[in-house]
């Protein structure tokens, strides 16, 4: 019973702060609301017995990615309010297409009524042990390839953020 209340509370926080992310004028507030969304999603992971993912989610998203966003906003000095001038036709088109996609997706999700969770099935706990066995036994190659992806991303990020890109090329 308590977990149901936790589900509804976390869902409300996630959707509210998700909406606040896109309607905040100040990008810093957007980042903070997005962090709140990520924390509530981590709470959902915890409710679904995925404790390791909840921890990793908080470390990676709230700890690394959003800090990176905040640093970029700080370095670019974007925290002043800006008035976005976008034509009304484009705004209406955005609302219409996002609403249509929402209708389609919720229709698809609604037709998934048969997919109820089987309470008799033993749910594997998402602890480090279970995930580690799966990751190092069946998914070893993607795991190693992820390190190459990280290396490439790191080289790319360092190269792109060089001060004078044209002079270093010569």
């Amino acid at each position: 019973m308590l977990t149901e209340y936790a589900f509804w509370l976390l869902s409300f926080i996630a959707i509210f702060s998700g909406i606040a992310t896109i309607i905040s004028k100040n990008p810093v507030y957007s980042v903070l609301y997005l962090i709140l969304t990520f924390f509530s999603i981590a709470g959902h992971y915890f409710l679904m017995n995925a404790q390791f993912l909840a921890a990793v989610h908080i470390i990676v998203y709230a700890g690394a990615i959003m800090v990176l966003f905040l640093y970029v906003i700080m370095m670019l000095n974007l925290n002043q309010l800006e008035i976005e001038k976008r034509s009304n036709i484009l705004k209406m088109l955005a609302v219409a297409s996002a609403g249509l996609l929402l209708v389609i997706l919720s229709g698809a999700a609604h037709s998934a009524d048969a997919l109820t969770a089987n309470p008799n099935k033993v749910t594997p706990a998402g602890m480090v042990e279970d995930l580690g066995i799966a990751l190092y036994r069946h998914y070893l190659l993607p795991f190693e390839l992820a390190s190459i992806l990280f290396l490439a991303a790191m080289v790319g990020a360092v190269y792109l953020s060089k001060k004078n890109l044209n002079e270093t090329q010569a």
């Binding site: 996630a14 017995n49 993912l53 966003f69 976005e84 976008r86 297409s97 997706l105 998934a112 993607p142």
Partner: protein, 105 residues
């Protein structure tokens, strides 16, 4: 430990769809490239939530492994994307996507 007796998969799917819709709407509606970037992150997280819910439904850890790899790709994407954004700001002094119209005839 079995929790969530009365919360079924379509509750999580509905939440996931709502978050994904918010993300799509933000990408289409806002002009600031950083906000659009954050909305992409929101969409990725909506998909992650659905995958974890499916993983719980099937009693299988594979869905959680997928979420793990999506996090890896998201971290790499943010590092490169924010570097591109820095270059953009250095050359144009704005992050407004409407100012990127040099390919327009």
């Amino acid at each position: 430990m079995e929790i969530l007796h009365n919360i079924y998969i379509h509750h999580y799917l509905a939440l996931s769809v709502a978050l994904f819709g918010i993300g799509v709407f933000g990408v289409l509606f806002r002009k600031n490239a950083i906000i659009m970037f954050m909305c992409v992150e929101l969409m990725l997280n909506a998909v992650n939530l659905a995958l974890v819910a499916f993983s719980k439904m099937h009693g299988d850890t594979d869905g959680q492994i997928f979420v793990f790899f999506i996090m890896v790709v998201a971290a790499a994407e943010v590092a490169v994307g924010l570097a591109i954004l820095m270059m953009l700001y250095r050359n144009l002094h704005t992050t407004d996507t409407d100012s990127l119209n040099e390919l327009k005839g």
